[in-house]
Amino acid sequence: MSDRFGIFKLQGERLRQFYEFCNEKSLSPDEELTQIEYAFYEIMKNPSVEGNLFRKASSIEEAAALFHTYVLEDMTGYDRTVKLAYEFKNRYGS
C-alpha cells in the first residue's frame, strides 16, 4: 500500500491521471485541496469510477458502497462513512 498516494490512496493509472491533472492545472499534488478537486473531477468526468451511479444513488448505504468500491477501492471504514454521511446529510441537507 506504500505506493498509494494521498487521501484517496490513488495508485496505478488513476495516480498517473491525477499527476497529469495537476500538471495541466499547475497544482501541487501534495495539497489536500488538489486531491479533493481531483476526486470531484474524477466522479464528474470519468465513467470508470461509476460517477453517474454514485451521483444518483438512492441511499447513503448505496452511495457509500459505490464510493468505497470505485473511488477509495477499499471497503475499510464503510460503516464510519455511512455514519458520518447521515450526520452530514442531517446537518446540511434541507
Binding site: 491533472f21 464528474m44 468526468k45 444518483k56 446537518r91 446540511y92
Partner: protein
C-alpha cells in the same frame, strides 16, 4: 472572584487561553446580547454528534466603544465566520470572548458561489467558507489556498453538480473524515 467561578484568578488575563474558531450559531442568545456559538479549533471536536452546537458555550462578542450592543446584534458575524478570541477562564474554556473576525482565503470550491448561496443560515462552515459550488460543466478551479475543507461547501458543491443528497453526504463524509 466571580460568583460563577468562571475566572481562575482575580486578575483577568493571567490565565486566558486564546482560540481561533468558526461561528456556528448567531441567533438564539437567551440573553439577547448578540452572543454567538463558536467551535474552537483544537478544543471542540468537529463533529456535531460529539459536540452539538447547542453544547458550545456562548461567546460574548467584543464591540467597538460607542456601540451599545443592545437590541439587534451589531456584530455582523455570520455562520461560518472565522473568529479570534480568548477564553477568560483559561483551561476551563467555558467563557469565550470573540475579539474579532479573520479574513479567509476562499478556495476554488467556492469560486462560483453567488452572494445568496454564500450565506446559509443555520449551517456550519469551516475554513473554506460557509457554502460553495463547483461549476456544472468544468472541474473545479481555484485561486489558491491552504489545504482544508468545509463540509458545507463540499456538500453544496455536490448538490450543485447534480449529486443526490445521499451521494453528496457520502462524498462530504469521506473527504472531511480524511482531512480532519
Amino acid at each position: 472572584m466571580s460568583e460563577l467561578n468562571l475566572f481562575e484568578s482575580e486578575f483577568y488575563g493571567d490565565k486566558i487561553r486564546w482560540f481561533i474558531g468558526i461561528v456556528e450559531k448567531v441567533d438564539g442568545d437567551p440573553q439577547t446580547l448578540g452572543r454567538v456559538k463558536v467551535r474552537a479549533f483544537g478544543i471542540h471536536n468537529a463533529y456535531i454528534s460529539e459536540i452539538a452546537i447547542d453544547d458550545l458555550p456562548w461567546a460574548t462578542v467584543m464591540v467597538p466603544t460607542g456601540v451599545s450592543g443592545t437590541g439587534q446584534s451589531p456584530t455582523g458575524l455570520q455562520n461560518g465566520t472565522m473568529v479570534f478570541g480568548v477564553f477568560l477562564d483559561g483551561k476551563h474554556s467555558q467563557n469565550p470572548v470573540v475579539l474579532g473576525s479573520l479574513p479567509k482565503i476562499e478556495s476554488g470550491l467556492v469560486d462560483n458561489i453567488t452572494p445568496q448561496q454564500k450565506i446559509k443560515p443555520g449551517k456550519v462552515g469551516t475554513n473554506l467558507g460557509a457554502s460553495g459550488t463547483l461549476s456544472n460543466t468544468t472541474p473545479p478551479t481555484r485561486s489558491g489556498s491552504s489545504a482544508g475543507g468545509s463540509g458545507d461547501a463540499l456538500y453544496s458543491a455536490g448538490i450543485n453538480n447534480g449529486f443526490g443528497s445521499d451521494a453528496a453526504a457520502v462524498m462530504t463524509a469521506s473527504i472531511m473524515d480524511r482531512i480532519s
